[in-house]
Symmetry: C2
Subunit: 209 residues, 2 copies
């Protein structure tokens, strides 16, 4: 994901749209997304500005618009990138015997939160989503369509969507108390103990009963 | 909690501390706390200012300091007031037979989140706590000392604190996905169904096994 050879953004001309095609290098999109995440985390969804993102990324604001369009679409792209590791959750449920699905999902989701490299981008997005209805909607639509519907399809049976969401709610709540609020002893507990104690509840949600 | 007869705050004099004792009316403290909550919710912990709180409350900034001291202590008081409804959770666990503790705790906590009058102040505080380490510490200390230690004392047995925290994590996660992210079908599900589906997992955490 390094981008040593991006061409510099085209200079902006007054009175007409900036030419931005020449700046579309292989690393620019990733750099802008990282900058957008930082801008949303620092200022919240409402006050985050395209100008601020462009400044952090070291590009012309027109280039940000060129790649992503308006703010809501930048946020959607940032959410998609930040939650990309979590999008493999349906596979974690599917790959193996049903009686181990709760343990596999708990291990997978808590593991994504355990690693700072995957936790911090998700947390930045989650903070924005918790503070703003538009941002919450973007986050909700992605999680619904890419995770919950797919997990529910693996589960089948009555209330599969609701059961998938309750399982996810448990794991998100554990991750937030452990890594953000940092309440003890949960924050320092061995991850294997946390997985072992959470998996039966997750399993019960997934399989019903 | 109405305060129709507060005396007006003392006028501020340049060059010396304002005299504030005369403004210590019965409703001023509550008004300042509500203003502090609004200021923290709007600007986040870091950027919230005592001047901003005073402006919203219609009092002199010196009066805010007179009642609460520095920002961290104002936040602590705002947290204490906002989570006051949740502080009865240990009683919900204690009052009744052990086999119904999970259902009582789920009903109590989800009920506090169901009512906008108790949800919105808690949510404002939680948003600040999720975005700032100092705020998270204030929130954590209060929840640990006033809720988790007491619930754990009711439970007894090994890992009582950890089990109390996992039960709380589940209920906080459900409340956030239902009321903040508003993911469907959880957001619109009948509250009795949500309680019925969540209670067994909470019971399992509380009672071990």
């Amino acid at each position: 994901m390094t981008a040593p050879a991006d061409p510099p953004p085209a200079p902006r001309r007054r009175g007409r749209p900036a030419r931005t095609d020449a700046a579309a290098g292989p690393g620019a999109r990733e750099r802008i997304l990282a900058a957008a995440r930082a801008e949303f985390a620092e200022h919240g969804y409402d006050k985050a500005s395209i100008r601020g993102m462009a400044k952090i990324a070291g590009v012309d604001p027109a280039l940000v618009h060129h790649y992503f369009g308006p703010k809501e679409q930048i946020f959607a792209a940032a959410v998609e990138e930040a939650v990309a590791p979590a999008l493999k959750a349906p596979a974690a449920v599917a790959e193996g015997p049903a009686e181990g699905a709760g343990e596999r999902l708990a291990r997978f989701v808590l593991g994504v939160w355990e690693d700072p490299a995957t936790r911090e981008p998700m947390l930045a997005i989650l903070r924005s989503a918790l503070a703003n209805d538009t941002a919450a909607g973007v986050f909700r639509d992605l999680i619904s369509s890419r995770v919950m519907i797919r997990v529910a399809a693996e589960l089948g049976g009555p209330d599969a969507r609701l059961r998938a969401e309750l399982a996810a709610a448990h794991l998100v709540g554990v991750s937030m108390l452990r890594h953000v609020i940092k309440i003890e002893p949960l924050a320092s507990a061995d991850i294997e103990q946390v997985i072992a104690m959470t998996a039966p509840a997750v399993q019960r949600h997934l399989m019903g009963g």
